[in-house]
Subunit: 298 residues, 2 copies
Amino acid sequence: MKQILIARSAGFCFGVKRAIAIANETATRGAAEGAGGAGEPIRSLGPLIHNPQAVEELEKKGVRVVESVGEVDGGKVIVRSHGITRSDRAALDEKKVGIIDATCPFVNKAQEHARQLSTEGYAVIVVGDANHPEVKSIISYIEPGVPILTAISDLRDVGGIRKAGIVAQTTQSFENLMQFVSAALKAFPEVRVFNTICNATVLRQKESTAVAGKTDVMVVLGGYNSANTRRLAEICREINPRTHHVETAGELPSDFLEGVSTVGVTAGASTPQWIIEALVARIRELWSGETIRVEHYQ
Amino acid sequence: MKQILIARSAGFCFGVKRAIAIANETATRGAAEGAGGAGEPIRSLGPLIHNPQAVEELEKKGVRVVESVGEVDGGKVIVRSHGITRSDRAALDEKKVGIIDATCPFVNKAQEHARQLSTEGYAVIVVGDANHPEVKSIISYIEPGVPILTAISDLRDVGGIRKAGIVAQTTQSFENLMQFVSAALKAFPEVRVFNTICNATVLRQKESTAVAGKTDVMVVLGGYNSANTRRLAEICREINPRTHHVETAGELPSDFLEGVSTVGVTAGASTPQWIIEALVARIRELWSGETIRVEHYQ
């Protein structure tokens, strides 16, 4: 028996994977419904991921990217993993546009904690890039009139505020969060922190090295110019010297499975799922006739 | 007109000053009541301050130091600024001993926040020396059954705990608090911090340098072997070169007020109030005939 062991967190993070699955499902259902009739337009509010091939794939299925709510006048809109602001949501509701919500559950949590803190009398500190759509969506959930602080320098001269709550953009580093926590504890007697950082990158590295240690050969998929993929290959190679870093399955040497009964698979953050599936298909081909067990490692 | 400007936080911190004032008042009232009758015994549970002269002064007034609740069988007991445990308080109540509570209000706050966190479903992290009476008193206010964590190493392997609250012994350093906050944020999704650190030392330094900058000559009172007093003299001298560091007023050169119309005064943490008062008396003597305004700077 042969085995393919795939790191659960390989490639896109959970939230992006989920958003793409939701978009595909919506497009497929739309096409089926549209077969007999008009077929409602499906839009995605901003690109679902920063990967042109993946966006193109979705466009072929009828999901068109629009940049703002103003461009939408009916049909369905997919809200991507970053979430949207409360006012954009209200505007879509007013236009009676069907909202397909693919907001990442971790972003939902950050929004909810921001709202909760603001209703419980806390000033709200949002650690993140104030211009990022995710941060804009989090901030929009803070009740009107509640002080919002997004820069370390905001934490000085905050007369009258006794307690502050902190949430973070899900992709922030822990070190940056701690800088805000430290400054807040100097400024306010009470500081309540929700650690909303999603540790996808750390988790991916942890799972990938575990997989590398359990398998005969390890394949790391992802762009040669992707820093996070190169780092992934590097740490896997430390564990398993038979580690290949390739962009697609086709680049693997034909004999890479020689003497191998278990293959490990992982992928960088910008690697679409189909690249991973194509590798699995190629391994199945090379191992045709064998019983193959495909498992995910978590 | 002449002026004496005294740093508000000179000498003992607010909580210790208050405890001594309460003890003195109790002793005075006890003596007055005792004049016509038996005179109830007055005890202090542990020494009120770590200054032998001050403790001796209180003993002369009838305040005897006992080490444990077991030694008390009636009369009155003064609870010092560190506070006492809930069980010691209950034991005193049972013995019908009169409790004169001189617990520092900042320690009271830490106790109250610890209790509040434990009733609101938080595991409670107490940052401090677990053997210190103050920390024991804080911990005793945590409701039974709630996890109590007092070491960084406690913050690993805390399965099932989703949220933790942090309080600190009032004399802890901010840096130590931050180490616990950082470790807690790695272990729990929600961390609620009450910064119960009393910044008496930082405040004393801040006020003292401000006073040094506003006066013609500066006097820093406190032991030559006291690190915090030497540091105080050092930073005052940077602001005002006419800074004298002496243990008592008697050591000042006889001409230290020459050409002076304003004197600044501060004192290290272990300097009793009467040392400061003796200095003010000496200045009044040297300035006899002058109108003197004594002010506190905060």
